[in-house]
């Protein structure tokens, strides 16, 4: 079970049990929905963007431990960031999740690095990236009820 502990790190289990920023935001300036048809995971990401900055972010939905924890950690990581910083973080995280496993350098992603072990199970990488793709869709498309993004 030891390598399972590297995948399901304590921070992941903690954010799964107690997801942060887990609510709808009535004041959201944009919102996007994501869906992974393979496992039925659904997520909505709510954003309040003001003055070129992610002033607030939250999410709701149902998913596995990895997708829920990833969404929760993402909301903590991008809150308060400028849009450019948030986009850079998306790419940085995406590179970490999709890069080769032996690529030890994941850079400085703070708590998000807890998800790097998921790379070992390629079919689960989409669980970790669903929230981020949904976030990116919300950033790019301010219209409510944009087409759901999918990681399939």
């Amino acid at each position: 079970m030891s390598d399972l502990r590297e995948i399901y790190q304590e921070v992941i289990l903690d954010h799964y049990r107690k997801p942060r920023n887990f609510q709808a935001l009535d004041a959201a300036t944009s919102e996007a929905r994501g869906h992974n048809p393979l496992c039925g995971d659904r997520i909505s990401v709510y954003l309040v963007v003001r003055g070129g900055r992610v002033e607030n972010i939250s999410f709701q939905g149902a998913g596995c431990a990895i997708s829920t924890a990833s969404a929760s950690l993402m909301t903590e990581a991008v809150k308060g960031k400028t849009l450019d910083e948030a986009k850079a973080l998306f790419h940085h995280f995406h590179d970490m999740m999709t890069g080769p496993e032996d690529d030890g350098e994941v850079g400085d992603l703070g708590k998000l690095e807890a998800l790097s072990g998921v790379r070992r199970i390629p079919i689960r990488v989409k669980c970790a990236t669903l929230a981020w793709h949904t976030f990116k869709s919300a950033l790019e498309d301010d219209a409510r009820n944009a087409e759901p993004v999918t990681t399939e």
Binding site: D3, C39, D41, G63, C127
Partner: protein, 431 residues
């Protein structure tokens, strides 16, 4: 190479046909396990417990050998050549059809069409048999527990013709509501297509009763037998259905091959599904005369070696004995149902009175994908997801389930390892 070398090498088709395929030894799970090389491996350092048989089954050495031998010694195209290899390949291919006839209980080999699998069998019937008979307002009746392969082909032909797809509801236990089913049989019903054994719930549907209800009204029937064939003795003639279709890969045979049984009068009255070689008698640019069934439905070079492998797999199952298989699997089902029932956080989805050894379940508070990953790290292979039955998942209000599905090579110890794995999962995720 001398002729003697060839004649010493048995032809798989010939041997298989000649065999009487009666079980010769009493069932012994350790002996049958030894026939399946894939079962010997370890996964994450643990012995593999392969409990994903409803998705696809592992392969016995006898089947692998039949495929290797066909490609190594007896390979050529079928039906046309006058040379020796072509005759051998034809004999083995048509020999496999005879084995499939016997395995499925058809009256004659011409009633067996080789297809890619159950999905193609259903599509063939939907397009060649049902579509020309559909007018706007006509109906096709399926059930709420169908695999996508027994939903989508009917949706396509209904959409093209203005017919309606009707869905017979199921009970909370996962049984077809037969009263509602009967009410849905109307004078507009042109086809009844139902799964024999549900891949997602394990329910064994009352096929005979369904045929009775439909044929009383002159409505043709098709059964999706993908999940039934590895577990139940088939007898399509006795069942009295019009079509019955199975997949090789779930029956310990190769991928990409399956069989469609069609009652001969039905097949003989049907137009081709695809055009090409093999399915014709004569061709001019003005007109083509179609071949008789089953060749009419086997356009192009068929999956020759796949069919030979399927025949070998069917022989293997017959030799193992379907009665013994059913008894062993039933014991596994009883044991697994009891052991999973001891875990309060586990809820079974599908508790029909008549069930095959398939256990779909959800674990309270833990997503099916996490269940699957953590069991995999203990060497236990289960399926997680919607099992290609999304409407069924919606029926039970769950996005996905975990599913343990057993074959005759599984053991009580593997059931116990599944249960141990679930205890570890619960411990891992904590309160």
């Amino acid at each position: 190479m001398s002729g003697a070398a060839f004649s010493a090498d048995p032809l798989p088709g010939k041997v298989a046909v000649a065999r009487r395929c009666h079980p010769s030894l009493p069932f012994d799970v350790e002996r049958v396990r030894a026939d399946f090389p894939a079962l010997e491996q370890t996964i994450h350092g643990k012995p593999l417990a392969y409990l994903d048989n409803a998705a696809s089954a592992q392969k016995p050495q006898a089947m692998i050998d039949a495929v290797t031998s066909a490609y190594t010694h007896n390979y050529s195209n079928v039906h046309r050549g006058v040379h020796t290899l072509s005759q051998r390949a034809t004999e083995a291919y048509e020999g496999a059809r005879e084995i499939a006839r016997r395995f499925m209980g058809a009256a004659r080999p011409e009633e067996i069409v080789f297809v890619r699998g159950t999905t193609e069998g259903i599509n063939l019937v939907a397009h060649s048999f049902v579509r020309p008979r559909l007018a706007p307002g006509d109906e096709v009746l399926i059930s709420a527990m169908e695999h996508h392969s027994n939903i989508v082909p009917w949706q396509i032909v209904c959409e093209e013709t203005g017919a309606r797809l009707r869905v017979a509801p199921i009970t909370d236990r996962g049984e077809i509501d037969l009263d509602a089913f009967e009410d849905l049989l109307t004078d507009r019903t042109r086809m009844v297509a139902v799964v024999h054994v549900s891949n997602a719930l394990g329910t064994i549907n009352p096929a005979r009763r369904i045929v009775e209800l439909a044929s009383r009204r002159g409505i043709p029937t098709l059964f999706d037998g993908a999940q039934a064939a590895p577990h139940l003795e088939l007898d399509v003639a006795e069942l009295g259905c019009d079509f019955y279709t199975i997949s090789g890969h779930k029956l310990f045979g190769p991928t990409g091959i399956g069989a469609l049984y069609g009652r001969f009068e039905r097949l003989a009255a049907m137009k081709p599904y695809e055009g090409g070689g093999e399915m014709i008698r004569s061709v001019t640019f003005e007109a083509t005369e179609y071949n008789d069934p089953p060749h009419r439905f086997e356009a192009g070079t068929p999956h020759i070696v796949g069919a030979i492998g399927l025949g070998a797999a069917m022989c293997y199952v017959e030799e193992t004995g379907l009665d013994a298989i059913a008894a062993h699997e039933h014991e596994l089902l009883i044991h697994a149902t009891k052991r999973l029932g001891e875990i309060p956080q586990v809820r079974l989805i599908g508790t029909a009175a008549e069930k095959a050894a398939v256990l779909s379940f959800v674990v309270e508070g833990i997503h099916a994908h996490d269940v699957g990953t953590i069991l995999d790290h203990q060497g236990v292979a289960v399926r997680v997801g919607h099992h290609c039955a999304q409407p069924l998942m919606d029926r039970y209000g769950v996005p996905a389930t975990a599913r343990a599905s057993f074959a005759f090579y599984n053991t009580r110890q593997e059931v116990d390892r599944l249960v141990d794995g679930l205890h570890q999962l619960l411990e891992f995720f904590g309160p």
